[in-house]
């Protein structure tokens, strides 16, 4: 089962794994990525984070990324959960979970989904440091990761 959720509430990794797997006994591998809020960014201590998104487009963008992963690799299920709103250090921000018969496909598809999410899904982070609020800048390394997938065929 493929699905995408945008939510203000925390998520429970065990529950997400159960949702992902359902009753499928053909799954041999599940690879999960969890992105967490770090308390340091660009050398500054970050007190809190606010995640803005583009309602409607965000869900479509994530679904499109999941669909592309399913067309590139033989995977059975993919689930993406992304939080929005106010977050604190150590809070989980995003979960990408992929289930497949064999592990290589699950690793590649999971990394592909989070790499694409980082450059194609409309979320923006605003962080609060001792100096006040600031919008987080996009990373060149994230563009490079997306470009590498665009150049590769599977």
């Amino acid at each position: 089962m493929n699905s995408v959720s945008i939510q203000a509430e925390p998520f429970d990794p065990n529950r997400e794994l159960d949702l992902l797997r359902g009753n499928d006994s053909a799954i041999g591998a599940v690879v999960t990525f969890i992105g967490l809020m770090r308390d340091i960014n660009q050398g500054d201590r970050v007190e809190r984070l606010y995640l803005e998104h583009y309602p409607g487009m965000t869900e479509r963008a994530l679904q499109k990324i999941v669909d592309e992963a399913c067309s590139r690799w033989e995977i059975q299920h993919c689930r993406v959960v992304h939080r929005v709103g106010a977050l604190l250090p150590k809070d989980p921000i995003v979960l990408v979970a992929v289930a497949s018969q064999h592990r290589k496909e699950a690793f590649q598809a999971c990394e592909f989904v989070i790499d694409y999410l980082k450059t194609k899904a409309p979320f923006w982070k605003k962080e609060t440091t001792a100096e006040g609020e600031r919008w987080v800048d996009a990373r060149e390394s994230d563009d490079a990761a997306t470009l590498a997938w665009e150049k590769s065929e599977t």
């Binding site: 487009m57 992304h82 999410l117 980082k118 450059t119 987080v136």
Partner: protein, 83 residues
Amino acid sequence: MIQVLFFARFREELGVESEQIELNGLDCIGDLLHILRGRGEAWARLFAEDQRVMVAVNQELADKNTSLKPGDEVAFFPPVTGG
């Protein structure tokens, strides 16, 4: 008419979240950007050629060559930083 949305840093710096714009003579996103740049200093700076601007038409990523038609929902935003 098209609806134009601004997100994140763009919304804050321009002081606009959403507006309706007449499509008269605007064939594509490039034409719309040209109009926006003429609105004043903040607009010219944010939408300058050397700035990284992302754009979506009807909630799909687009670029300056994407054509426009009445009723389209256009959104401008800075490079995304989710995940």
